[in-house]
């Protein structure tokens, strides 16, 4: 009996409090018969800012200017699917301009230049008023045919100001250019050859990179040496939200 009584009391309280809220709302509405000029709320723009520090972990694979992208949807690349034309350009030549101009990009930023082995660079990217859901990073290993490394659509919406995420990244093959390692096809300093070529003469899907072979390890036609070989991981990346 006491239990039921207590329950009743609680229920009554609940009913009372909710009715108070309702009357409260109604009351304020009915009293606003004389027009009151409500000043529009001052919208100070909110900036979401991220510092992305990228370190090149390879022996002798310079990285093309790093592309950092904030986006809400989409992916820069998809394993098992053909690379986009914009991404093919980044992976074959190191030119990130088409990727940064893709429609899904809310805000994008390029690194200052080529990132040599052992070097690191911090790239700041920011956006006003829209909290970005995802962050992506991409760069070409320039002494290859079409190898790249980076982060694909990492969810950053829960990253608080001052918080960081660190990770090491693996290398992928865009699948758009055969890994001939010929001097004429390697755009980096090891070859000085052609970068982007729209002809797709490889498997035409993105996969993990099998690594470069080099002339020292049995590919006679290769312009690469043992020094250009790499293993995973190839980059160390730290993302810090600063605003």
């Amino acid at each position: 009996m006491t239990f039921i009584l207590k329950m009743r009391n609680i229920l009554t309280l609940l009913v009372l409090s909710s009715s108070i809220i309702i009357t409260g709302c109604g009351g304020s509405d009915s009293k606003s018969s004389t027009p009151v000029v409500v000043p529009p709320p001052v919208l100070t723009p909110i900036t979401y800012q991220y510092e992305v520090t990228v370190k090149n972990l390879t022996n002798a694979q310079p990285m093309s200017p790093i592309a950092v992208v904030l986006h809400d949807e989409g992916q820069l690349w998809q394993l098992g699917e053909p690379a986009s034309s914009a991404f093919e350009m980044l992976a074959e030549s190191g030119d990130n301009s088409a990727v940064l101009a893709e429609s899904m990009v809310l805000a994008g930023q390029s690194g200052a230049g080529v990132l040599l082995s052992g070097m690191q660079e911090t790239i700041t990217v920011s956006i006003e008023d829209i909290m970005p859901q995802m962050l992506s990073v991409a760069t070409m290993l320039v002494n290859t045919n079409d190898a790249f490394s980076g982060i694909n659509a990492m969810v950053i919406k829960d990253l608080g100001v001052g918080e960081s995420i660190s990770m090491q990244t693996s290398s992928y093959d865009a699948g758009t250019e055969m890994n001939s390692e010929l001097m004429t096809t390697i755009p980096g300093p090891a070859g000085g050859g052609e970068g982007f070529n729209e002809i797709r003469d490889d498997v035409n899907f993105v996969a993990m990179h099998p690594g470069v072979v080099s002339q020292d390890d049995g590919l006679m036609q290769s312009v690469l040496t043992q020094a250009h070989r790499f293993d995973n991981p190839t980059l160390m990346i730290m993302i810090t939200r600063t605003e």
Partner: protein, 232 residues
């Protein structure tokens, strides 16, 4: 007064459900550009079973799988241990970049997940997930796995059709991109325990040289597969 027994009943049901079974969805993606996987063996088993141990010699059953893609031995071994098994979810080879997905209902006590398949073309390379503890908490868990060498066959890299345990050579290069006439990369297996695979060597000569494999097509770097487990 009636509430208490009801609560007890609920507690009992939920705990017995947790012990009884889990339903998991397992997806495996081939991350390589040029390596195929033979039919997968996906299993949930008890903590006292294991398909292999790094640094220890492979069982004859693992050898069958790693050298020829034959999972029947491992499957029988698991069945004897009352494991839950799904064989060949891809219905054949899993080609580069492809994904296969399967459901597994696990019985009480079978809270360890193991997944294996042979890498083709290799002599005795396999991809493995070894006794991964299935979380009791529902959710999606994704991780990457590496390629191992069973340590049972010399990595001669000669495509001879040899897939039976103890037979030298590689059964086949499913991509149709293998060579012939290789003299053999090595005739020795120095490390006779299960270890991380050093990768294919290959060469640039499809009709002679040491290897029948192509060094720009048949190499890989770890990881070689991505596994996603959805605990329902």
């Amino acid at each position: 007064m009636k509430i208490l027994p009801l609560l007890t009943a609920i507690a009992l049901t939920s705990s017995s459900m947790a012990i009884n079974a889990q339903q998991v969805e397992v997806s495996v993606t081939n991350l390589t550009q040029g390596i195929y996987y033979t039919p997968f063996l996906v299993s949930a088993h008890s903590a006292d079973m294991s398909l292999y141990t790094l640094g220890e010699a492979a069982s004859p059953e693992l050898q069958m799988m790693a050298e020829g893609g034959d999972i029947s031995g491992l499957s029988a071994m698991l069945s004897n241990g009352n494991a839950d098994i799904m064989e060949n979810p891809a219905g054949g080879l899993l080609a580069p970049s492809m994904t296969t997905t399967t459901m597994l209902d696990t019985a009480e006590g079978n809270d360890r997940l193991s997944i294996v398949a042979m890498l083709l073309p290799t002599n005795d390379g396999f991809v493995g997930l070894n006794s991964w503890k299935i979380p009791s908490e529902a959710g999606t868990y994704t991780f990457k796995v590496n390629a191992y060498d069973a340590g049972t066959e010399a990595n001669d890299e000669m495509i001879t059709g040899g897939g039976a345990p103890g037979a030298a050579g590689i059964p086949v290069a499913p991509g149709g991109d293998g060579g012939s006439g290789g003299t053999g990369v090595t005739m020795e297996e120095g490390n006779m325990t299960v270890h991380v695979h050093r990768g294919n060597l290959g060469d640039d000569n499809m009709t002679s040289g040491k290897s029948d494999l192509n060094n720009t097509v048949h190499r890989w770097l770890n990881p070689v597969a991505s596994i996603t487990v959805k605990v329902m």
